[in-house]
Structure formats: structure tokens, C-alpha cells
């Protein structure tokens, strides 16, 4: 981060704050979205993250990039939010899907509603082990490279790759369980 902007943020100059928020809000929002799977909650956490980042900006020592630091805070606050709101979390048991007759595909009698897919994606991601969840969300929601993920998480790039593969396999298994319970 350029020194001038850093100084302006420390001094809480409004234009600098606006610029910083607009530069980083999407990255933060997508990270939060990956965790909470809900727009309203993601917006709430995004606000909190940006406020916290700006108020703590004097502590930023530029050992990593600002984007890495901001993402790390977004992950931590998202996890805190989930823990604090566990009962309000969008966790649902894998339930039977609402069946819809498919007009398009001939190979199957059943189709899935988009809402069912979203619900089960949310459930599947939330059930991933924390490090796999982290790698999955950073890769798929933020399009971070292995190197960027490794900077954020502290894992080596090869560990990130391995975590990602396992996350995908686990996700696939959980979706298969959903399918088995609902269609077989």
C-alpha cells in the first residue's frame, strides 16, 4: 500500500476511506459470501471487516500485501460470525428435494430446483474441514492463485493444491449423498 494512502487512512480522511472501501469491498464480499452463503449476512460482515481494517490500519506493517491482510480478516470475521450465529446459520439437514418434472431432459424424470442446489451447496461447504473450506472458497469465490492462497493461509503451494483437491472430492461426495437420499 502506498505510504500516502496509508497515512490518509490513519488520519481517517474521508476520501481515502471511500477509495479504500471501493478498492477492497468486492474481495471481502466474495470471501464472506463463500462462508455464509447469504447476501444480507455477507453485506453485514463486509461492513465489519472494512471498518475493522481501517481502524486497525496503523497496525499494518506491510509484511504481506494489503489484499492478503484484508482477506485474512474477512475469513476470521466470517468464521466468528458463523460460530456466533450458529442457530441462525443457514444449515439445514439434507432434506428431500422438491421434485420438479423435467420438461427438457429425457434421461431423468426429476430435476432440481435452484434453491435446493443452493441450500445443499451451503451445507456441503460448511461441512468441509476448515483448511479445505478456506482453500475452496479462496480459489472458487475469489479466483486466487495457489500462491496467493498460500500467502493468506500460510500453507505451502503444494499443500494448497492438495487441500483443494480434497475439498473438491469431499464436496462431490456430499452432493452425491444428497442425490442418493433424494432420488434413490
Amino acid at each position: 500500500m502506498e505510504e500516502n494512502l496509508h497515512k490518509k487512512l490513519v488520519n481517517k480522511e474521508p476520501l481515502a476511506i471511500r477509495q479504500f472501501v471501493n478498492d477492497h469491498k468486492n474481495v471481502v464480499f466474495r470471501t464472506c459470501m463463500g462462508y455464509v452463503q447469504n447476501e444480507d449476512d455477507a453485506n453485514d460482515i463486509t461492513q465489519e471487516v472494512l471498518i475493522k481494517v481501517i481502524q486497525s490500519i496503523h497496525q499494518f506493517k506491510a509484511k504481506s500485501s494489503i489484499k492478503t491482510w484484508v482477506t485474512r480478516i474477512a475469513i476470521n470475521l466470517s468464521l466468528n460470525y458463523i460460530r456466533d450465529n450458529k442457530k441462525h446459520n443457514n444449515k439445514t439437514k439434507l432434506e428431500k428435494a422438491d421434485y420438479f418434472l423435467s420438461d427438457e431432459e429425457s434421461e431423468s424424470d426429476y430435476s432440481l430446483s435452484r434453491e435446493e442446489i443452493k441450500k445443499n451447496l451451503s451445507e456441503a461447504i460448511s461441512q468441509l474441514p476448515e483448511r479445505q473450506q478456506e482453500a475452496f472458497i479462496l480459489f472458487h469465490y475469489n479466483d486466487y492463485s495457489y500462491r496467493e492462497i498460500s500467502e493468506i493461509t500460510g500453507d505451502s503451494e503444494s499443500s494448497v493444491e492438495s487441500l483443494l483437491q480434497r475439498a473438491r472430492k469431499n464436496l462431490q461426495k456430499k452432493l452425491a449423498v444428497f442425490y442418493t437420499e433424494n432420488f434413490m
Partner: protein, 143 residues
């Protein structure tokens, strides 16, 4: 290739990270197995949901909310964005207050002391007699 193996390789197949020979085996299996075909569809739909979620953006005025919170030096003050629940709650309170107020107003207007004139013939016997003195109720009712 059996269904268990398909389950393992399906993600890589969808992402195109698979050898040609394995791809051929998977497609051969999918051509005859409706269950695996359905699983493939579930996975593709799921990945498309993720792609859709990536296009979402935060609330338009988030910079203003953040700025206000920082300048007011209240780091816990966050305002629910894109959620009109608080508006509904305020509206409910106003409605209840209005209803109570209306009820009181209407109640006050409905309750009136009984000041019927002698020309009104259909009120209580006791009241009429009181107002008109000697005229009896039967005469009044059948006039």
C-alpha cells in the same frame, strides 16, 4: 468404470482436468447410467451456482456506511443493509400506536351521555318517560 469410481473423478471431469482415456471411460459409463448422469447434473448446477454467486456485489452505499461508522468512532455500529426488517418493525410500532390511538378516539366519540330529545321515539322507555313526563311509551311507539 463403476459408479464409485465415477464419483471420485466426476469433479475433475467437469473441470476438464482429466486424461483422454479416463474421459472416454467416464462418458461410456454415463451413457448407460442415469444415476451418475444425475450426479453429474447436480455437480454442474452446483458449480454454476458458485459462478452466479461470484457475480454478486456488495450494497451500493457500503462506503458511506463504513465512513459514517468510522467517523462516529463506533466500530460496533453496523447498519443492516438490503434488509428491510427494521423498517417493518418501525412500521408495526407506528401501526399499533395508531390503532390504539384510533381506538381511544372512537371510543370517546361513541360514548356519549344520553341526551335524547323528546322527538326521538325509539330510545329506552325509562329515558323517554324521564324526558317527556306523562306521555306513556305505547302512545309514542305507535304514533
Amino acid at each position: 468404470m463403476n459408479c464409485k469410481e465415477i464419483e471420485i473423478w466426476l469433479y475433475d471431469y467437469v473441470e476438464g482436468r482429466i486424461s483422454d482415456s479416463r474421459k472416454t471411460s467416464i462418458e461410456k459409463h454415463l451413457s448407460t447410467c442415469n444415476d451418475c448422469k444425475m450426479q453429474l447434473r447436480v455437480l454442474k448446477e452446483t458449480l454454476s451456482v458458485i459462478e452466479e454467486q461470484k457475480t454478486l456485489t456488495p450494497a451500493d452505499n457500503i462506503d458511506s456506511y463504513v465512513l459514517d461508522a468510522i467517523l462516529s468512532n463506533n466500530e460496533r455500529k453496523t447498519i443492516r443493509l438490503n434488509n428491510f426488517r427494521w423498517i417493518q418493525q418501525i412500521a408495526a410500532v407506528i401501526l399499533i400506536a395508531f390503532s390504539i390511538g384510533s381506538g381511544i378516539f372512537i371510543g370517546n366519540n361513541l360514548y356519549q351521555p344520553e341526551t335524547y330529545s323528546s322527538e326521538s321515539n325509539f330510545w329506552s322507555n325509562e329515558l323517554y318517560i324521564e324526558n317527556t313526563g306523562s306521555i306513556d311509551i305505547e302512545t309514542i311507539l305507535y304514533e
